[in-house]
């Protein structure tokens, strides 16, 4: 029998730290690759798990995108209250302008714009597309408007100002547009909470799904774990392939979530843009950006690792050779 160069008795610890570090990295690479390979070997059942995770991640992502698109839509509003003061249609243009100049002196008012009935008609004709109908009218039905921005921000002060403006003899009505915006933003904030809560629940679901899948993997490889522990494998060595397995489940799930989101947006954005075009002109549905996609992948990977770590922590310590 050939002797070879196995000469037992030599010290194992003689190897340099650098060698060990390289060996460690090489092992990480190999385990990462092997666990991905393991998943691809049984691609159909892996695909099922990926889709489950993908759907759970796609749902809050789509809701989040819808919310941020709505926020974009109302983004023109910078949070400052605006008051529109409609003058009586009987007020002449000169009187209207004089009234506007007088208001401009008022310390309660930060800035204002006077829109004469003619300007208003021009603008309305351009924006509404009802130009033909308006042209048939013999008289301009629109009143002059003073659009002003008050200095005050508090509701009480604003209400006082509105009341004061409404009592002016030239004024027909005062339109104060803060309320509905406040309501919209309150609804958006509520919806955001809802999406966050839903996202957390589904994230928990992803954790449990991955944890359970990893638990099964641990059971399947029980014999291997025992052997590895018998020949001196540390806990982290035993843990490593399962953490990578969880990582790939998570990343794969995030990739399928990404695909689901993209497909859903393509499906939705056409009709939505058509609908909004009727109101406002140019609106483009904003999808997942590059960094948001990266974050989705990272979130998937982290959920996978954490889910696997939870399962491994619970089940691995119970497996001891003997």
């Amino acid at each position: 029998m050939q002797t070879g160069n196995v000469r037992p008795g030599a010290s194992v610890s003689a190897r340099s730290l650098r060698d060990r570090w390289r060996g460690y990295l090489a092992h990480h690479r190999r385990v990462a690759w092997e666990s991905l390979q393991d998943l691809l070997d049984v691609w159909l059942s892996s695909l099922m798990t990926w889709l489950v995770i993908g759907i759970a991640m796609a749902l809050p992502t789509i809701l989040y995108l819808i919310l941020s698109n709505i926020t974009n839509l109302s983004g023109d509003w910078d949070g400052r209250p605006r008051i529109s003061v409609y003058l009586n249609t009987t007020v002449s243009d000169d009187d209207g302008r004089a009234f506007a100049r007088r208001l401009a002196q008022d310390a309660q008012i930060a800035s204002l714009v006077y829109i004469s009935p003619t300007d208003a008609l021009t603008e309305f004709t351009e924006r509404s597309g009802f130009g033909d109908i308006l042209a048939t009218l013999d008289r301009n039905p629109l009143p002059a408007v003073v659009a002003l921005e008050p200095v005050a921000r508090q509701a009480v002060q604003l209400k006082l100002l509105v009341a004061q403006l409404a009592s002016e003899p030239l004024v027909e009505s005062v339109y104060f547009d803060l309320a509905w915006l406040e309501r919209l933003f309150a609804i958006l904030a509520l919806a955001e909470r809802f999406v966050t809560a839903l996202g957390s629940f589904l994230g928990l679901g992803v954790l449990l799904a991955i944890g359970n899948t990893i638990r099964l993997a641990i059971e399947n490889r029980r014999a291997e774990i025992e052997v590895v522990k018998l020949v001196g494998g540390t806990d982290s060595f035993v843990r490593r392939p399962f953490l990578y397995l969880g990582f790939w489940y998570g990343v794969g799930g995030a990739v399928s979530a990404w695909l689901l989101v993209v497909v859903s947006l393509v499906f939705l954005s056409g009709p939505v843009e058509n609908l909004l075009a009727a109101y406002q002109g140019d609106f483009v549905v904003v999808g997942l950006g590059f960094w948001q996609s990266v974050m989705l992948l990272m979130l998937g990977g982290s959920l996978g690792v954490v889910g696997a770590a939870l399962a491994v922590g619970r089940h691995l310590s119970k497996i001891e050779p003997g």
């Binding site: 029998m1 050939q2 002797t3 070879g4 160069n5 196995v6 000469r7 037992p8 008795g9 030599a10 194992v12 190897r15 060698d19 060990r20 390289r22 060996g23 460690y24 090489a26 092992h27 190999r30 014999a223 291997e224 025992e226 052997v227 590895v228 522990k229 018998l230 020949v231 001196g232 494998g233 540390t234 806990d235 060595f237 001891e320 050779p321 003997g322």
Partner: protein
């Protein structure tokens, strides 16, 4: 290398597997552990690789008191000991190469070094041509030799074997024993649990005989009529 000091091991059921066992094995000695099934041979080996802990008394391996070793350090102790198991404990979904490579991978060797050492170990046990096969395709004797290659690939200073010739015919058993002798000759301490008395009697080695958990006899090497 190994020292047992008044070691007793009682299992949960109350059965005493080892009872006040005392012995010492110096470096580079080759020792047989004999006795009938249930005499405590496996328990004794399990204490050395910390699969079990002594209920009483102390076990020292290379100067380390195993009673005081925390759980975290157990892997490090096991990495310094090569173990050949009776039921081989091979991974049946991995090739022979991967099985033998396992201790090196665990110890963090680089792939190139792993390849070199695994091939050397396989050459040593005469399985160079089988590295790509799965263990299931090998005979019992070959599987046992894979187990031996794995036990020595990391060059441990202590080699334990639990019934390494258990199910093998006499010719194969002799071959396996010769391998252990060769390792012993380069300085490895070898402790083999076996009840193959016919084979043991032909080797000139020290014998520890267990019965009912007690150390019945401790026969030095030159008291046996050895052939080697």
């Amino acid at each position: 290398m190994i020292r047992f000091d008044q070691v007793s091991k009682r299992y949960d059921g109350g059965r005493e597997a080892l009872s006040r066992v005392n012995f010492e094995i110096p470096d580079a000695e080759m020792v047989f552990l004999t006795g009938r099934s249930g005499a405590g041979k496996s328990t004794l080996l399990k204490l050395i690789i910390v699969m079990e802990r002594a209920s009483q008394g102390q076990v020292f391996v290379q100067g380390t008191n195993l009673n005081r070793v925390p759980r975290r350090q157990i892997p490090a102790i096991r990495r310094d000991i090569g173990v050949v198991f009776q039921n081989h404990q091979l991974l049946f979904d991995r090739t022979v190469f991967h099985n033998v490579a396992l201790p090196l991978t665990i110890a963090g060797y680089q792939p190139r070094e792993v390849g070199r050492r695994v091939r050397a170990a396989l050459a040593k046990v005469g399985l160079s041509d089988k590295e790509k096969q799965l263990p299931i395709a090998l005979s019992g004797g070959e599987q046992q030799r894979v187990g031996i290659a794995r036990a020595v690939v990391n060059k441990p200073s202590l080699l334990l074997a639990d019934e390494p010739t258990g199910n093998l015919d006499p010719g194969l058993s002799e071959e396996i024993m010769n391998l252990f002798v060769q390792f012993n000759q380069v300085g490895v301490t070898v402790l083999i649990a076996s009840h193959d008395l016919a084979l043991i009697s032909r080797m000139n080695c020290r014998q520890l005989k267990l019965g009912d958990g007690r150390l019945l006899e401790d026969t030095p090497a030159d008291m046996n009529e050895g052939v080697s």
